[in-house]
Amino acid sequence: MIGDTPAPAAAPYSGNAVEGQGLVKNFGGFRAVDGIDIAVPAGAIYGILGPNGAGKTTLLRTLLGIVDPDEGHRTLLGAEQPLRMARQVGYLPEERGLYPSMKAFEAIAFMGALRGLPLAEGRRRARAMLEGHGMGASADKPIRQLSKGMAQTVQLFGTIIHEPRLIVLDEPFSGLDAINQEKLEALIREQARRGVTILFSTHVIAHAERLCERIAIVAGGRIRFEGTPGEARDRLRPQVRLRTRMVDGAWRGALPPDTMAQDGAWHFALPEEGIEPLLRALIDDAAGIESLSIERPGLHDAFVAIAGADAARAMDAPVEEEEDA
């Protein structure tokens, strides 16, 4: 139901679409955001990765001006008061919210009207959007009669109906089935192609890996890494997987100290001096190489290395009913 939504070309914006310096946000004694610096380049697809409770939602809410930080300052599309740029921003919160008695097309138009789009134009666009995505029959139905996925789509349309220059999505893939996740990815790419800056949070690394030009890995209210996914992966050396016919021999002295045996194979990070010294030892000792693979680490491995195994386990935990800090 999502995807291929025509988006207008956004007006070019030089510099960073979103910036935050030294942002701190406490809830009572709990520090949800702990001195975060962030810069989202204009036109980029930027992902914020982190487990539940990492501070992603609070960071987004702070950047959008929904809450004020206790310390630090932020700019949104160049404005220090984020709400001044509200007409150029679209926001999909993690906790989806719609008036249950409102008709689908009215809900979309209402969200556009909140961002300055005239109601009549909003209604026209809303109907076109819904019809364009095979939801024309649901346009006049109250939200309470729509399925969860359809309601989410309605809210997403409401987020982009006013053709914003910056779209902020908090866990946008949560609650969507695989097909709609793919459509949402397509929509994000389409918007980005037109120059719209996309900032989204996710706990699913695969989405960030496929979509993002830059990512920030957040854990414990702090940014542990900021850069491209490639740079994150480059933090780890390539992983070597070696299987030999001989179990023992002098060649084992050439294996790096961090080598682990698992599933009948040796696993270790590619040594700084390269694989050649080990290969020489294997051949000289006739260890019999059954298979040897050198793989570039994935973003998940990088995440584990950067944020820690606990954070990675939290990323893998089900999140549907949990609430981010």
Partner: protein, 396 residues
């Protein structure tokens, strides 16, 4: 500022449509008509009851000549003082046993007058004697002086207006407007308490807060509820007028308020709007802190009591024009509309009303701002210094 009002209008339009286009709004409109209908139904019964003469009856059981004199005197006094001014009498055969007569179920009297005109004796319970003794004395005196008592004729000098009567009439008009305003406010403003609960329970508040200033949300909700109130008032007013006209009622000749009827009606509308928004903004601020409908329901009673206190204060104050209480009631924002509408009935100057309306509007702004700061701080858990937020532009 334009953006703030535009955003408030978007919120107001949504809320207004959501309320007015719902089925429950019909019940809301019809609800207040029920007491009116019941009033009409029971009004007829009430009229019958009130037309029944419940004045006490004195049984007169004197010798026949005295009985006749008492009867004539009672007739003359009733003619001069009005039918209901003195106790009724019932002429009975003479008796020396008034106690026995009172003990009979068919006596139909609360007291028995025996003896003679010169020495009348009234028999009855103490409390009945207390209230009838004076009447009997007056009737007996008039009967004794039957031939010599002449009523002094009073000459008439008519004037077109009486300032005393006019002042009383104008006070009455002001008080009627005050009571109507109070009932409409107490009927309608309480609904605002639960106004933000929907947004909070449906998680819509996040979308609103990201798109528009919280001030605009508060303002929009107040505007919607005020507009809804005007729809209700127009409906109830029309219904009441239609029933009144259908029953062939004639408008009573009410004295014209000091500011004139057109200005008075405009001021009544403006003061109702101010009373409503002053209380509404307070209720909205308080209700916004409530997390659940249950909490809102719990808040309802103390808030209604608070409203009544304000009304009593304003009512007391206008009974003492020029007193410190009246000045205080005019200045205290929540009682100001109720006190000023009475003033509009009594004093012709318009400028105090312009000052009062500005003062009240200023307070609406202050209350909304304080409510917004508290909402951002306690509900949205936003940071920053509260005193800085208090003076921050609403668009930020």
């Amino acid at each position: 500022m334009t953006a703030l009002w535009r955003a408030a209008f978007v919120i107001a339009r949504r809320d207004f449509a959501a309320v007015v286009l719902s089925r429950t709004f019909l019940f809301f409109l019809l609800g207040p008509l029920l007491p009116i209908l019941i009033g009409f139904a029971f009004g007829g019964l009430g009229d019958k009851i009130s037309s029944t003469d419940l004045r006490p009856v004195i049984g007169v059981a004197m010798p026949a000549q005295d009985n006749a004199a008492i009867g004539r005197a009672h007739g003359r006094l009733s003619e001069r003082m009005g039918d209901k001014a003195i106790a009724r009498i019932r002429l009975l055969p003479p008796t020396n046993d008034p106690r026995g007569l009172l003990a009979r179920p068919d006596s139909g009297a609360v007291a028995i007058l025996t003896g003679t005109l010169a020495r009348p004796l009234l028999t009855g319970k103490a409390e009945d004697l207390d209230r009838l003794q004076g009447d009997v004395s007056l009737i007996a005196t008039a009967a004794l002086a039957e031939r010599t008592l002449h009523f002094v004729p009073v000459a008439r000098q008519e004037v077109a207006t009486s300032l005393g009567a006019q002042a009383q009439g104008r006070l009455l008009v002001g008080r009627v407007a005050q009571v109507i305003m109070f009932f409409l406010t107490i009927l309608l403003a309480g609904m605002i308490l639960s106004n933000l609960v929907e947004e909070k329970t449906n998680k819509i508040i996040e979308i609103l807060a990201a798109a528009v200033p919280i001030d605009a949300i508060f303002l929009g909700k107040l505007m919607a509820m005020l507009a809804m109130s005007f729809v209700g008032i127009a409906f109830w007013g029309s219904a009441a007028f239609a029933v009144f006209a259908a029953l062939g009622g004639q408008p009573a000749a009410l004295p014209e308020p000091a500011v004139g009827w057109p200005a008075f009606l405009i001021l009544a509308i403006l003061y109702f709007a101010m009373a409503y928004t002053l209380l509404g903004s307070l209720f909205l601020g308080i209700g916004a802190q409530a997390a659940t409908v249950r909490e809102v329901q719990t808040l309802n009673m103390p808030i209604t009591m608070g409203q009544m206190l304000i009304f009593f204060f304003a009512s007391y104050a206008v009974e003492h024009p020029g007193s410190r209480a009246e000045i205080a009631a005019c200045i205290f924002p929540w009682s100001s509309p109720f006190a000023m509408i009475v003033r509009a009935g009594q004093e012709a100057a318009l400028w105090p009303h312009l000052v009062a309306l500005f003062w009240q509007a200023l307070f609406v702004g202050v209350i909304i701002r304080v409510g917004v700061v508290l909402f951002r701080r306690h509900v949205m858990q936003s940071g920053g210094r509260w005193w800085k937020n208090l003076f921050r532009p609403a668009t930020g």
